[in-house]
């Protein structure tokens, strides 16, 4: 087994937030108590995680409208997804022959798993996180048409808006950004009211709503 690597995030960049550790205990950080946090990585090397964090934050940047992929912990989310059954194509039909140049209406027909697609593409992006943002955007424009980029974009949106138990959407920052309250047991009294005005209940995550023990798919063997 390879040496365990960590992604170190500056606490000021993610604000005072809830962080989900590997064993799923939740703890709240404040910028006053620590300067940085170390999150154990499941699939990426530290260098890879930094590239993914940088690229995701160019897809959904932080700006005056609110936080982006960096604050939401998207890199942590993607790391866990890649280590889990999705990253290994556990549920994908993977019998040969593969066809790398199939018509797009038949979906991705190649052999490479998400793990392999990321690992290969990240080799070509070595040093990406050290570029300035303008140069990063130029680089991403060059690879916009690739399978890797479409996966990265999709995974970035997933990591922005998934339930926090999956490692992204830390402190429900993504949900707060768009006014999504997360899973609510009942909208019965509100569903036919509030016409024409924003109704924005305070977000709550699945474990807060159901108080149940939920096992996310990325933790499946």
């Amino acid at each position: 087994m390879r040496r365990r690597e960590f992604l170190t995030l500056s606490a000021s960049s993610i604000g005072g937030v809830l962080v989900y550790s590997l064993d799923r205990r939740v703890f709240r950080l404040s910028t006053r108590s620590v300067e940085s946090i170390r999150i154990p990585l499941r699939f990426f090397s530290r260098a890879e995680a930094l590239i993914v964090a940088a690229a995701a934050s160019r897809i959904v940047p932080s700006d005056e409208t609110g936080p982006g992929a960096r604050e939401a912990g998207v890199a942590v989310y993607i790391d866990r997804q890649l280590a889990g059954p999705w990253g290994r194509d556990r549920y994908r039909y993977s019998q040969e022959p593969f066809e790398e140049h199939a018509p797009p209406e038949l979906g991705y027909q190649g052999k490479a798993t998400p793990q392999q697609i990321y690992r290969q593409a990240l080799k070509d992006l070595t040093g990406f996180d050290l570029l300035d943002t303008a140069a990063q955007d130029e680089k991403l424009k060059e690879i916009e048409g690739t399978l890797f980029f479409s996966l990265l974009r999709r995974n970035t949106i997933e990591g922005m808006f998934c339930d926090p138990m999956h490692g992204g959407n830390i402190d429900m920052l993504g949900w707060q950004l768009i006014g999504f309250p997360g899973p609510r047991m009942s909208n019965y009294d509100d569903v036919d009211k509030h016409f024409g005005e924003a109704f924005r209940p305070k977000p709550a995550s699945l474990s807060q709503v159901t108080r149940g023990n939920v096992r996310p798919s990325e933790d499946e063997v």
Partner: protein
Amino acid sequence: MKTLPAADVVIIGGGWTGLLMAKELGSRTALSVVVLERGGPRKTDDYANSMDELDYAVRLRLMQDTSLETVTFRHSSGQRALPLRQLGSFLAGSGVGGAGEHWNGVCFRFLPDCFELLSRTMEKYGSKRLPEDHAIQDWGVNYDDLEPHYARAEEMMGISGKAGNLRGKQIEGGNIFEGWRSAEYPTPPTKIPYFSALFREAASTLGYHPYPIPAATTSQPYTNPDGVARPGCFYCGYCERFGCMVGAKAQPTNTLMPVIQKRKNVSIRTGAWVRRIVQEDAQNGKRARGVTYLDAKGEEVFQPAELIFLASWILNNTRLLLLSEIGEPYNPDTGKGTLGRNLTHQVSFPAVTAFFEKPLNRFMGSGSAGVCVSDLDGDLLDHSRLPFLRGGCLVAFSLGYRPIANFGVVPQTVKTTWGLEWKKAAVHYYDRTGNIVFSGEHLAYRGNYMDLDPAYKDHFGDALLRLTLDWRDNERNMAEFATGKSVEIARAMGAKEVTLFPGLKRYDATRYQSTHLQGGTIMGRSPDRSVVNPYLQHWQIPNLLVLGGSAFPQNASTNPTLTLLALTYRTADAVVDRYLKSPSPLA
């Protein structure tokens, strides 16, 4: 191989149709009934923690595991088919309840003329108007035959809605174009959320006849004739791709299983993967002797039975008959054979994406909450001057808007799909965006069919089912027409910007359309052109009946569940009242 003691009845598949048949036979007879379901057990409690968009709606936790079995696909018979390596344009279910667990609960009846599509169309337009390579047929059953069974299915699920045609009397506010109904819906319509209310008002202004979607996400607590009680819907918005955590959405597990579990003569075996139906020569032709399956431990088992129901959804119904070499496979070149013919889907797409000034609060909703117009459906328009036959419905759903699926939809003025400008627009428009969906009829064609794939195998080494399917001009022209109409409504709703559906080109197996594939074991009046008779009984093997949408000769515009349940009720009556007294052909 182990041989088990014989059962009176074996039902292959534990979804809506299989479990409805199990409930009917289990309650009305003393027969021993065994249901073989290849997935796992499911119950309402399983869904308490399931409101997770990622694992259920994106990673598709309730769906068929494509690593074990999928289908292959091609657009026309000259091409090499490739496997659908992940589910896309439709979502096959798995486990007890099947796709009936993860459905939205939209519960229309089909229009009366759908059942006599060929004769009605010929009568009105003549054979010249039909597409050259069409394969449309009459069903061998008509709306009047089915009406009482439609009513039973609605009562069983407690469908919420508003009648538009009570025994021939048109009622404003309901669907005035629907076939006659013997009774009002069991429960009143669901609540109508803002986006759907905007649509209703705009459609009315433009002269359409909007009505609330008939819903199995029941509007109030309801107890059905079997004594099964369910709560009313809470509009949490986690219906499609999810199981209902409170049991308000009618699902086989919360509506049929409570009855079945009380019947000692019905047993449900999960993890039972049926591989063949075994037939033998009998006195007057052939009969089915039983089925072979792999049990949950992987052991091969032979289960003898007197009567067999194949109820394993459209694709597997067709595939199991092909693998079992029951019936003659359809040959598109000669037109001979019937098994696998008339594969249809539905002309289903977001006709217009509309962007509004005000927020819509779209997280609130329910799988079948919303408003529909049927003025363009069936043959309600005069098609003699239109470039297509038949039609469909325009619908404004409020089914619960979730962020992973929907974040990032922006007006066309935004030219990028990532970065700062896109993010700002995506955040602004996230809750200001709505689709008007069109759902239209799909005609059957000689070249759209199913057979066994010569190259790709499932987990056990059996050939995968191969789909050959593409759109024709009738669907493309219908889609273009519907898009134009939907833009007018969107503008009347106050949309500031609109994005039009780009049009149907080739069939796209990656874009989710609906889980309403039909055909393959179609019903009809003649064994030369159908696989089963109007009672869904196999023409060559009278003790084999095939339930579900695989019986539809072509698709109607709306959701099929109510129709396939009505057909199942009708078959149950024929079996109990006639077949069991004298096992022989029912037609």
